[in-house]
Amino acid sequence: MAGKPIEMRNKKTKEQLENLKTQVEETLSQVDFVIGYAKGYDVLHPTPLFVRSTKDAQALIWDDFCINNLATYLPSQKRPGGLFHPHEKIGLVVKGCDSRAVIQLLQEGIIDRENFKIIGISCQGKVDVKKLKNRVPIERVENAEIKEGSIELTVDSRGQKYPLEEVLYSKCLSCEYPTPLIYDRLVGGEGSLRSKGPKEFAQDPYHDVEEFEKKGVNERLDFWEQEFSRCLRCYACRDICPFCYCQFECIAQTRIPHWLSQKTASKENKFFHMFRAMHLAGRCTECGECERACPVDLPLLLLHKKMNKKVSELFGYKSGINPKLRPPLIIFQPEEKNIEEEKWE
Amino acid sequence: MTEFSTLMEKGKEATNPYLPEVAVIQKIVDETSDIKTFRLVIKNREKLKKFSFTSGQVGQVSLFGVGESTFAISSSPKTKDFLEFSVMRAGENSSALHELSVGDAVGVRAPFGNGFPVKEMEGKNILVIGGGIGIAPLRSLIFYLLGEREKYKNVKIIYGARTPNDLCFRRDLRAWKRRDDIECILAVDNKFPGWEGKVGFVPAILAEEAPAPADTVAVTCGPPIMIKFVLDELKKLGFKKEHIVTTLERRMKCGVGLCGRCNVGPKYVCVDGPVFTLAQLEELPNEI
């Protein structure tokens, strides 16, 4: 390709932003509001923006940090209207990985297709701020730019460079759907081919799950005991998840039924995350928002990727790909191909 | 046991306000299909003797292993040898309480909150308007008024419920009806075979009775929807905001203004309430 690839990347991002603004403005006439991204408190943290007028649309941004999965606002409880099913029509800016969440919500019948308009936008991978946080004190970042295959952060007026492969989200390094699978409008044409990640990583997104499975059972037990002792039970992972739309009746907090004690010992925390993983079996689309939202950096995506790996091995099902498919755990086959009955002789 | 003194004994200086006092159920009266009155006797006799409260104050009843919930004290402040709570079966704790029988133990933390302004009400006419389980704190107030009858001008009670079977404290109602120094008007929402009293919602009965607002304090408790219309009606009838007294309901846990749950604006219902005048309510944000 002519020109250095990274300048092309920035060029494409800028074009997409202009195109996005016009697409959002056009969508405004068909919906009550459009949800996109705006500048947050610093360059690394864009924040969701609710656009209700062309004036709001000017605040829209699109860059290498816009990571929020905005599909989480589709189920009614999280919408500004909150509690009930308002007949609001919503416009939504959706990346490839987010589009899987939209499709899965459609498969579950929790949202009605004619109630929202999707503005798809192809994606070139997003920078994982937690990977930066472990390398440089990001709370004092002044500027961030992509230059020649790396990201250059200015912190305390000193520049630090990191190759993109090192700091992109792991899900981006093995991304299969840079272009959204569902959209009413598409900004910026087809997505770039899967960005070249570290070789063994690019092929198998479940690489980290397999690594963890190799450990001994006690090592795994101790690992989770240690990790979940940090959990604050703030439920950010649950409340940002597009599929946890029963916050009001979540069994983590109800007394009838009384599944979980409010104590925050590692055992209770572990049981909460385990049953959330079970509730997401065959539904989670690995958008990774739970891991991003966790204030104490728990490796939550690992849990849900293990569950998805099991579900795909057993039923060959991948969540949020085909709106016609029914989620695997609410159907069955009289003869299950990959499940044999345990032998007791 | 423990080196802490409970709320029952020391009130504000209780060294551990979270620690309940163990009490035993002495008597259970089935007021209606879903309301029971529990007569509790605190096991520690001296604490019970020293215990005092004002009508309108509430208490927290603990079912160990289940939880705690807030109920108005429905017995008279004058009775010293027991406490009564009238409980409607609603959530986990009240349902568990309904399963208990005489002799079972519960925990009690009381009194909480401010209670009715019985001192300021002296020398005035008193209008008591109750609905459903809202009659519980008002029963305690009526007992108090009858005990100090001469301090108050005329006393009028308007009490309504869905059906005659939903009227609580029927024995007391009959006693009040027989008295000539108070007026007791009972109502049910709609006609019911064998019912001669008034028919209609409490706010409508209030409009029909149209009591004169002069030198009268109105005290009302009941479901939020009834309170809303009763307050409007009282304002229409010309009652002064300072002379309209009601109570607020909130989810409560600590009951002593520490756990931050039961606020309406800057006020905490468990310590600044549950009794508020309409004047005070109108200063608070509209979040009822």
Binding site: K78, K133, E139, R233, C234, Q262, K263 | E68, N286
Partner: protein
């Protein structure tokens, strides 16, 4: 009293203190820096901002209020034995920031204020010393100077350490603190040390952008019904990350666990959770997330100041940094002034 201690002596100093006190200090177990029990060899992280404030040393996320044991003496009489004891343990919180220390003023006002008092908090508060470190590199989410604090504000601290490159200046602000500065680790501070510390703290203060929160309290009561809250809460997920990491949030829950023997447990709770004000009847005075966000901001900047004549926000910025969608309380508070 002011003394000086070399940086490499800090670990030894903590070791000796560890024999008589239980020390809470910031460590980096996973990715997140967090206040945890001190152990020799665990690598201190004094540079990063700890995720949740050291309030856990005074107000643990889970605490037993009392144990109960139900036993039937005879069929008609049930016996209940209640047993509640507050462990007596000398503690030290080391490496807190000045905003964390100031946050404790809110806890003191509520839990050992004029009304009912909390014995569990008071016992820990009276047996815990606070060693804070002046901030010389505030984060872009810090706004302590806008709410009456500062990067080197000693309020609430027993000892304030100020970094002077290879050594720390240690200033005491309570009688108890003096006992900690004994021992061979410390030498007397010189005037030069004091001057250098003052300059560094002043330089840190200049780095912070200050905005005014004047009249916010009165304005908040006026705009209670405005659409402003619907807009500001639109992106909020109503989770508990802001409240659980906040140094001044003290709301808690009381629940019972166990059947015939068990305990009543106090655990953190959040006004942002829908169940916080849900009543048994099903009525909820704050059913929607904009009600809840409005209540949280009002509590910090209007309700608490009306009751106690002090703000209940110390400007540490944790609710901004740890919000999954970056709701920015500075933006909300400044916006209130313009509605």
């Amino acid at each position: 009293m002011s003394k000086v201690i070399a940086v490499e002596k800090i670990d030894d100093w903590l070791d000796t203190l560890n024999e008589t006190h239980r020390i809470f200090a910031p460590f980096k177990p996973g990715g997140a820096t967090r206040f945890e029990g001190y152990q020799r060899g665990k690598e201190l992280d004094l540079e990063r901002f700890a995720v949740s404030s050291p309030k856990e040393a005074f107000f643990p996320a889970t605490e037993t209020i009392f144990n109960f044991k139900l036993g039937k003496e005879n069929v008609s009489e049930t016996v209940v034995s209640l047993e509640s004891q507050v462990k007596n343990q000398n503690q030290i919180v080391f490496g807190a920031r000045c905003c964390d220390a100031k946050g404790l003023a809110t806890f003191d006002t509520v839990f050992s204020g004029s009304g009912y008092q909390d014995p569990y908090f008071k016992k820990k508060r009276n047996t815990t010393l606070l060693i804070t470190i002046a901030c010389h590199q505030p984060a872009n989410t810090c706004f302590c100077t806008s709410v009456g604090g500062g990067p080197a504000d000693p309020k609430g601290a027993d000892i304030l350490l100020t970094s002077l490159d290879d050594k720390y200046l240690a200033q005491t602000f309570s009688t108890k603190a003096k006992t900690l500065l004994a021992g061979s680790f410390f030498t007397d501070a010189t005037q030069k040390d004091l001057k250098e510390a003052k300059d560094k703290n002043e330089a840190a203060r200049q780095k912070l952008k200050t905005f005014s929160v004047e009249r916010v309290s009165q304005k908040l009561t006026k705009i209670f019904e405005s659409e402003y809250w619907n807009e500001k809460a639109a992106k909020c997920l109503s989770c508990g990350a802001c409240t659980y990491t906040c140094p001044t949030c003290y709301c808690f829950n009381l629940t019972d666990e166990g059947k015939s023997t068990g305990e009543r447990v106090r655990t953190w709770d959040s006004c942002m959770f829908p169940q916080f004000t849900l009543e048994a009847s099903g009525h909820n005075p704050r059913p929607k997330k904009d009600h809840r966000l409005r209540n949280r901001v009002n509590h910090k900047f209007s309700y608490f100041p009306t009751q106690h004549r002090m703000l209940s926000c110390v400007g540490c910025g944790r609710c901004i940094r740890h919000c999954p969608v970056s709701v920015d309380i500075r933006e909300i508070v400044r916006g209130v002034q313009e509605v």
